[in-house]
Symmetry: C2
Subunit: 264 residues, 2 copies
């Protein structure tokens, strides 16, 4: 069950290759089983986006980069799927924006925390917060292990990038007064709806794009960052992504109906 | 990593419980890792169907029951996810429609075949085809292990129910002149588009509904089955499901835009 060969004649070989990467990291203890299911959910929404970074996503990426660059204490929260797919981009982004990196898991176990820490260090991370006893602070509004955060990281942050996060935690962080940047392919999810800035894009495309945007914006200075943030409206941006999915689905529907009518 | 507790205050506890069932069966060697990802993909499309069995799905279920009841050699193809979620309903359906049950996997291994066979037998199956050397026939148009089928089962069948199947195999079976019934939450997938009859529904809801439909139709006789099949048009049915998803997405989009405008 561990060695999975992708048939080269399969029409979705590219998407299957990303899946295989996740499955490998699942077997190495980085990704949770539920992370595999979450990935599948994202795939479906990405399909409705034609698997491309949309204009609303690009605007979200600009606003996210501006937020991280203007924050006092930016933190990038990393879970299993994020580490498996874009560890190097996370480290680059942290370096450019002077953000801390913190491991933050829905299903915590010391083994997973350490495996993710190791992967991030291999990608160049100098310090990784939120591992083991370091995650000693608690978000009071959440139950169970999901509430644990690092007092030097997310607890003290004014802006947190939470790729692939769950709705409860996003809401809790926003209520604590933090700016929350989410990367979520489902524009209808609570995470997407509650975050300060939502990037509706596949993390495999969004993360390198975010690194580029941060590099460019850093050179242009704080003034440009503030201008971008003044013009950004997350609800409008989300509506843009939903409308885009809607249009794609309409096109699919029309195509199917056309085939139907031809058959008559 | 094996024991996963669902926080009782989580707003999607029901959906998480089904996920947990799949993950348990993954750990028991029934479900493939890629099956977890496929389940997530289905969840997203189910969300766009408001997680309800639609009118087009009900019509597909009627047509599927009619096809199995009027076939000479109906076969129900079972993969890991199907066995994990609806083994009992599969056995009931096979009994009512006098269909054979065959294990048919995208990623074959004798261990998985045997684990699925055992699960089906526990659910009451008398005979399970397609396990080990029994899967000695080959579908010539397919590469790798995906081509293996049982000469007494799928190879000889005139109608095959393939819940949660991949597009390649669906196409190959249709080209071999078989009536193929698919259960697939994505109405845009090749499986859904190529099958003779597609039930766009969550298998957890569709399988018990299919058992009921077969029970009722069996009493009403062959004439009623033929009438249902004469009036069924799969492309129109698929278009109905796509339009439904589209309407739901439009409603979501309008709601988000309304919130945006209120904020201005």
């Amino acid at each position: 069950m561990t060695s999975i060969k992708i048939p080269p004649d399969h029409p979705r070989a590219k998407s299957l290759t990303i899946r295989e990467k996740l499955i490998e990291h699942y077997l190495e203890g980085i990704v949770a089983a539920s992370g595999l299911i979450a990935h599948g959910r994202g795939e479906a929404f990405d399909y409705l986006l034609s698997e491309k970074t949309s204009r609303p996503a690009l605007e979200g990426i600009q606003a996210a980069a501006a937020t991280l660059l203007t924050a006092e204490n930016p933190v990038i929260s990393v879970n299993g799927n994020t580490a498996a797919l874009v560890a190097e981009e996370i480290v680059k982004l942290a370096n450019i924006t002077e953000a801390k990196i913190e491991v933050n898991l829905f299903y915590r176990s010391l083994g997973r925390e350490l495996a993710i820490k190791k992967l991030l260090e291999k990608a160049g991370a100098r310090e990784v917060l939120g591992v083991g006893r370091k995650a000693s602070a608690r978000i009071l509004e959440l139950s169970s292990e999901r509430r644990r955060v690092d007092p030097r990281g997310i607890m003290a942050a004014d802006a947190v990038l939470v790729p692939l996060e769950d709705g409860d935690r996003t809401e809790a962080l926003v209520r604590m007064g933090k700016k929350v940047i989410a990367i979520d392919l489902n524009p209808l999810s609570r995470t997407a709806q509650k975050a300060t800035i939502t990037i509706v894009d596949n993390i495999v495309r969004a993360a390198p794009s975010l690194v580029q945007a941060a590099e460019r914006l850093k050179k242009r200075g704080i003034g440009k960052c503030r201008e971008i943030l003044l013009n950004f409206d997350n609800k409008k941006n989300l509506a843009g992504s939903i409308i885009l999915m809607n249009e794609n689905l309409t096109n699919f529907a029309e195509k199917t109906v056309r085939i139907t009518n031809k058959g008559e």
